[in-house]
């Protein structure tokens, strides 16, 4: 009999049984998809982005389909961290599969405050920081577009929790390596790449933007090549593990991210199209390893074959 491959990976101290995680905002508060499969079979669950207080979100329309993409302007609607901990968390699966909260604020002290609150909640295994949202104290540019601001947010969260801290970067920057290195230095244990790309869409018939908010974030297969490039670039520039995401629809897409060096992947928009997407990726990765006689998934991570020479174009710090 063939033995099962070992799919477990280590994300900055957080050991997960397989590298498949759900992306924030695409898996609800964690148990909405239980009619389709048991979410505790996944590596980890990242729940809907949480803020200090309830946020109603943007007026509709909040989503529009674009070629191979989904443009959303949900407006970070959520019930607030307290309601999540009180009302949602207790009903989530009880086994050891890590639950990760994704948090964001409009000021650095909000991040710190949330980290403190989460620190006291055992069931939450790690914190993912969303720094793609506007920093209202500094003219509304996203926290994640400036290395210093990104580092400050990271630092404040790290200081207020003992749990692993994952920083989720925005792709809408000139040089993602600088931001990645800044949050690494500030103490992040892992980095998620990438959040959505800014975009918009116009209804020609009405001459109005299709989103009430005008601008939205693009996700889905359309962004996969760009996300993959950013992951490759960040991997080459930091020592901490990178979690790759952006347009992953199936295990082959997942493998692309693992090959360029992501230690784990997140499944986002795919959950909407195929509610079983994430669990199918787990199963298909297992089958793939069996077929290819790979006993440990870590053999694949970073296994991209390049002729060295060109590889240098992306990063200078790390050599695999």
């Amino acid at each position: 009999m063939v033995s099962q491959p070992d799919l477990s990976v280590n994300i900055g101290g957080l050991k997960i049984k397989n590298p498949v995680i759900t992306a924030s905002g695409t898996f609800g508060y964690g148990n909405e998809l239980t009619p389709f499969y048991d979410p505790s079979l996944l590596g980890a669950i990242i729940v809907k982005g949480l803020s200090l207080k309830l946020i109603p979100g943007n007026p509709p329309p909040r989503i529009v389909e674009t070629p191979c993409g989904l443009l959303n302007a949900i407006g970070l609607a959520n019930i607030g961290i307290e309601a999540f901990i009180e009302e949602k968390l207790p009903s989530l699966f009880k086994n050891k599969t890590p639950i990760i909260t994704n948090i964001y604020g409009h000021a650095i002290k909000e991040y710190a405050e949330m980290a403190k609150r989460i620190e006291s909640v055992d069931r939450i295994a790690a914190i993912e920081i969303n720094i793609s949202c506007p920093n209202v104290e500094q003219g509304g540019m996203a926290f994640g577009t400036d290395p210093d601001t990104a580092a400050m947010v990271t630092d404040q969260v790290v200081k207020n929790t003992t749990k692993p801290v994952i920083v989720k970067l925005t792709p809408n920057v000139t040089d993602i390596s600088t931001i990645a290195r800044a949050v690494e230095s500030a103490g992040a244990q892992a980095i998620s790449v990438t959040n959505t790309f800014l975009g918009m869409s116009v209804d020609v018939a009405t001459r109005q933007p299709k989103l009430a908010n005008i601008i939205g974030g693009l996700s889905g297969p359309a962004i996969k090549p760009m996300a993959l490039y950013l992951v490759h670039k960040v991997v080459a520039n930091v020592e901490i593990p990178v979690i790759g995401l952006g347009g992953i629809m199936d295990y082959q897409d997942a493998l692309e991210f693992l090959l360029v060096g992501a230690s784990a992947i997140q499944v986002g928009t795919a959950n909407f199209i195929n509610p079983k997407a994430a669990i199918e990726i787990v199963n298909d990765l297992t089958d793939y390893c069996l077929r290819e006689k790979i006993s440990n998934i870590n053999e694949i991570i970073g296994g991209l074959k390049t002729n060295g020479e060109n590889h240098e174009k992306i990063g200078d710090k790390k050599n695999k």
Binding site: G25, T26, F27, G28, E32, L33, P35, F36, K48, L54, P56, G57, N58, P59, P60, P61, R62, I63, V64, E65, P67, C68, G69, L70, N72, I74, A77, G220, P221, M249, T269, N271, F272, I273, N274, P275, K276
Partner: protein
């Protein structure tokens, strides 16, 4: 709520740009309630269109056949219409809350605009079984070529009034004109309204129902990515709730009691 790949049993045009599709699934059929919907994926070898498309459950037959009635409005529905017998499609459902069926002594008034007939046919089927009073229905289309299902509806023992905007069949005008007229004359009958159709039509119906103090259920549409309550895309402004600023059409709806919605925001 389940996901199943079903084989298309038939898929045929029954009116201008209007198609009827049927497939069998004992599981889906046994769970389905009138007013609920399905998210359908064309499961072809393409990621464009990307998302599933929502369609109301139009009819259930023989306990295991489901039908959807749809109009070609864009690329997803165009692709749907190109599918043939035995082609597979992936269906997620049944989704949403469905209609609250009125008691046997109420007087149901069904109001459908265009494809709004899709879910109302199913509720008409259900009401027909339990209702003492005749079911009244106002059914509107823009023009005679679009008119579908009139014979089948009459078969359900429905007192049907048909309108077309251009007057090419039935009464010239809008279904909401019929409603105005009806309420002027028979408000005392206190009908319970079930409505589905274009959002602006529903707004008129709902506001009329509110001012007339009538119970009224509307089935709303909304831009949906998931249909499962995980994307929060299908928000609609709540009319009454303080701590719930938005409802989600796929979860809290698609059927809402008219006073639940903030109609000014529409």
């Amino acid at each position: 709520m389940l996901e199943e790949t079903v084989l298309i049993e038939f898929n045929r045009q029954i009116g201008k740009d209007t198609w009827l599709m049927g497939f069998r699934s004992a599981d889906l059929a046994s769970l389905a309630k009138p007013g609920q919907f399905l998210m359908i994926h064309l499961d072809r070898n393409t990621k464009d269109p990307l998302l599933r498309r929502p369609f109301s459950i139009h009819r259930i037959q023989d306990r295991n056949q489901l039908m959807i009635l749809y109009k070609i409005v864009g690329k997803g529905t165009l692709l749907l219409s190109s599918l043939k017998e035995d082609d597979p499609i992936s269906v997620v459902g049944p989704l949403g809350n469905g209609f609250t069926i009125s008691g046997p002594h109420e007087r149901p008034l069904l109001i459908a605009g265009g494809m709004g007939i899709a879910p109302l046919f199913f509720i008409a089927q259900a009401l027909n079984k339990i209702q003492k009073h005749t079911i009244k229905m106002f059914l509107g289309f823009s023009t005679s070529q679009e008119v579908v299902l009139v014979d089948q509806l009459k078969g359900l023992n429905i007192d049907l009034s048909l309108t077309t905007e251009d007057g090419s069949l039935g009464i010239k005008g809008l279904v909401t004109d019929l409603l105005d007229e009806y309420l002027r004359q028979e408000l005392n009958k206190k009908p319970v309204i079930y409505a589905c159709g274009p959002t602006l039509m529903l707004k008129k119906v709902a506001q009329k129902a509110i001012t007339s103090n009538l119970r009224c259920y509307v089935s709303l549409e909304g831009c949906m990515a998931c249909g499962l309550g995980i994307c929060q895309g299908c928000a609609v402004k709540a009319g009454n709730s303080k701590d719930k600023p938005y409802y989600y059409v796929c979860q809290d709806g698609p059927v809402f009691s008219s006073e639940m919605i903030d109609w000014r925001a529409i």
